[in-house]
């Protein structure tokens, strides 16, 4: 058991150590700014957050319903 854990851990460390050699892809450092030019993107973020809130609200409702059923 201990051996397997040590094995998995060493593999993990090996993969981590490789990251130090990794180099970022050469990309133009100039930031893309088109998306932010007219500020309308904030509207889209608002819409996305609303949809996400709706989905989470639905999941919480299901959660409550299940809790009630589990108590019975």
């Amino acid at each position: 058991m201990n051996k397997t854990i040590a094995f998995i851990f060493s593999i993990l460390l090996l993969t981590l150590s490789e990251t130090s050699f990794a180099q970022n892809v050469a990309i133009n450092q100039e930031n893309a700014t088109i998306l932010h030019q007219n500020g309308q993107i904030y509207l889209v973020v608002l819409v996305l957050v609303t949809i996400f809130a709706g989905i989470i609200f639905y999941l919480i409702k299901l959660e409550r319903k299940l809790n009630r059923l589990e108590k019975k």
Binding site: T15, V25, I27, I34, V44, V45, F52, L66, E70
Partner: protein, 222 residues
């Protein structure tokens, strides 16, 4: 409260991913341009699918060893959640391809591999639902599930990486995609991976609790 902390955490992480993922100023990428942000939304769908299928095959093996129907049900629920997320991944991928490649479907190795994987797992649900006897159903489903996972790895990973694919990152070796990412992207792509997987687990949790109410006898006799 102790039961819910990870669900609250999921909500917070995903809120961060949605807001920061859209608003973060990313480096200019000549080919992908702004569509690189799909890395925070489309790619995690496949991570959730892979995670669910991996969990499912683990529980299939546990079922075959312990012969308790409980593990079969857990395994099946994981497949169903994985399939939903896989289909979302497929759909979002096609939307992306429609803009970037000009057509939603162009028989790219990555697309074909993913489609075959989904079909194999759909066949799994058909097989499992077509058998009336609970024990036979569980046993056959578990064996089939192990074979489908063995097929999934070459289909989504090995074969596309050996063929010419237009899909970003498909020529990468395992984990290379993460390492070569620009550090700015990593601030969002790593939480995104975690957050979406946790959302999958949340839905799995709800499904398994429904099963516990429906068939309490399977879960009680331990």
């Amino acid at each position: 409260m102790a039961k819910y902390w990870w669900k609250i955490l999921t909500t917070i992480i995903l809120l961060y991913v949605i807001v920061v993922g859209i608003l973060i100023k990313i480096p200019y990428l000549p080919k992908l341009k702004e569509s690189i942000r799909n890395l925070f939304y489309h790619v995690p769908m496949w991570y959730v699918m892979l995670f669910c299928f991996l969990m499912s095959v683990i529980y299939s093996i546990v079922y075959l060893r312990k012969n308790k129907l409980k593990y079969d049900i857990i395994s099946n629920e994981f497949v169903i959640v994985g399939l939903w997320f896989g289909m979302l991944g497929m759909l979002t991928g096609m939307e992306w391809a429609y803009i970037q490649w000009g057509a939603p479907w162009s028989n790219d190795p990555k697309q074909v591999g993913a489609a075959l994987t989904l079909l194999i797992y759909l066949a799994y649900t058909v097989l499992r639902n077509s058998l009336p006897d609970a024990d036979k159903k569980a046993r056959l489903a578990a064996v089939y599930n192990i074979f489908s996972f063995a097929l999934l790895i070459p289909l989504v990973y090995i074969i596309p990486s050996h063929l010419a694919s237009l899909h970003p990152g498909s020529d990468n070796k395992p984990f290379e995609a993460l390492k070569t990412q620009h550090h700015l992207l990593r601030y969002v792509s790593l939480p995104a991976m975690l957050g979406w997987i946790m959302l999958g687990l949340w839905i799995f949790d709800l499904r398994i609790r429904i099963k516990k109410i429906e068939q309490p006898e399977i879960f009680i006799n331990e």
